[in-house]
């Protein structure tokens, strides 16, 4: 598909901009099918994803260990650009992946940690327990999921951490309106 030549561009010029159109280069991949067509690519993909789910716990443990390692490096060498970046990236990956892997509360705790890293005016001044409790909570949620009461406890834990983190960030950014606005803005992901 990609080897086909692009269609001819049509450019319309205006006072402060140009509008560029071309025949849809991907139109050929749109197939007209009868209403009775039973193909279900989304259902097929969901089944395939379910087939991977046996690996999710192991993947989640790897992600949590990466986060702990990033934290250990900071405890040893302090915050540097690289160590901060690695901690953020490890937490950010968990934030994005955890719900897919069946650990939504770990994702919520990781999101809270990301907000601390992103919005704290000075990470050296963040209470070390605040960061440590987030990481311990994520590890606990990942390791203890098989226990019966874990889901409810994990939810309470991640919400509590988020509340404490938000309280800290709101106070720490009281003179930084652009950060305050970002902290208080709602997520684009609907609450479940």
């Amino acid at each position: 598909m990609a080897k086909e030549k692009p269609g001819k561009l049509e450019v319309k010029s205006f006072a402060d901009h140009h509008v560029i159109t071309q025949p849809n280069p991907l139109r050929k991949v749109l197939l007209r099918v009868p209403e009775s067509d039973l193909d279900d690519p989304v259902g097929r993909a969901e089944k395939a994803l379910a087939g991977l789910s046996g690996e999710f716990k192991n993947w989640m443990a790897i992600e949590a260990d990466r986060l702990s390692a990033a934290h250990a490096a900071i405890l040893k060498g302090g915050f540097t650009d690289d160590s901060r970046e690695e901690l953020f990236r490890a937490a950010h990956d968990i934030k994005g992946d955890a719900a897919t892997f069946g650990f939504p509360s770990a994702g919520a705790a990781a999101e809270s940690l990301c907000r601390i890293i992103e919005h704290a005016p000075d990470l050296e001044l963040v209470p070390s327990d605040l960061i440590r409790h987030h990481i311990n909570a994520i590890q606990a949620i990942v390791r203890e999921r098989t226990k019966l009461d874990t889901a409810a406890t994990a939810g309470v834990l991640s919400r509590s951490l988020r509340g404490i983190a938000d309280e800290f960030l709101t106070y720490a950014n009281r003179d930084r309106p652009e950060h305050l606005e970002a902290i208080l803005a709602p997520s684009i992901i609907p609450v479940e």
Partner: protein, 181 residues
């Protein structure tokens, strides 16, 4: 009703997380795609973009070397030798509205916040295939039309100068195609 022939599409996946790449590959192959190239950082992705000429790019935001936002900006160079028009779907853990705006202003075509779902990914792909937007070039922007609201009566801020032709009509294929999901 319309369906996508994924068999004919070539994808470039860019994500530094191997687990997410595996999930994306699984989803795309389940949809029917055969060609899905993968890179784990923005720099490699840019090389692969030039080499493989993908039809659709799916990229993470936070990545080493240069990130998905920079990748989008480098692809959206109107004078470049490569194709600056390929649809870019940004798949990211960022879930703040201001991030969507920043991604849009970098030339990203569709934004998909994690956690990923098969339906969400399929709908974004369907949107870029069935409903491509015209590109806009200004002094400060080159990328797909950022305005999805085709209201000619709009008189708010940042209105473009240029009269009636400034808003292009969108094709209606998307609505027809959506019925297939």
């Amino acid at each position: 009703m319309y369906r996508i022939d994924f068999n004919k599409l070539r994808f470039l996946i860019c994500d530094d997380n191997p687990h997410m790449r595996r999930i994306l590959r699984t989803l795309l192959h389940s949809f029917g795609a055969r060609e899905a190239y993968e890179s784990e950082d923005g720099a490699t992705a840019l090389e692969m973009y030039t080499h493989y000429v993908p039809d659709i790019v799916i990229t993470d935001w936070a990545m080493p070397i240069f990130d998905g936002l920079e990748l989008a900006q480098m692809i959206r160079q109107p004078e470049s030798k490569g194709n600056p028009y390929a649809p870019i779907i940004m798949l990211t853990g960022h879930s703040e509205k201001r991030r969507v705006t920043v991604a849009r202003d970098a030339g990203v075509t569709e934004f998909l916040a994690k956690p990923i779902s098969a339906k969400g990914l399929y709908q974004r792909i369907l949107n870029v295939v069935a409903n491509p937007r015209p590109f806009i070039k200004t002094k400060t922007y080159f990328g797909p039309d950022r305005r999805r609201n085709t209201n000619n009566a709009y008189i708010g801020p940042e209105r473009r100068i240029g009269g009636e032709m400034e808003v292009m009509q969108q094709p209606s294929l998307l609505d027809k195609a959506r019925s297939s999901v």
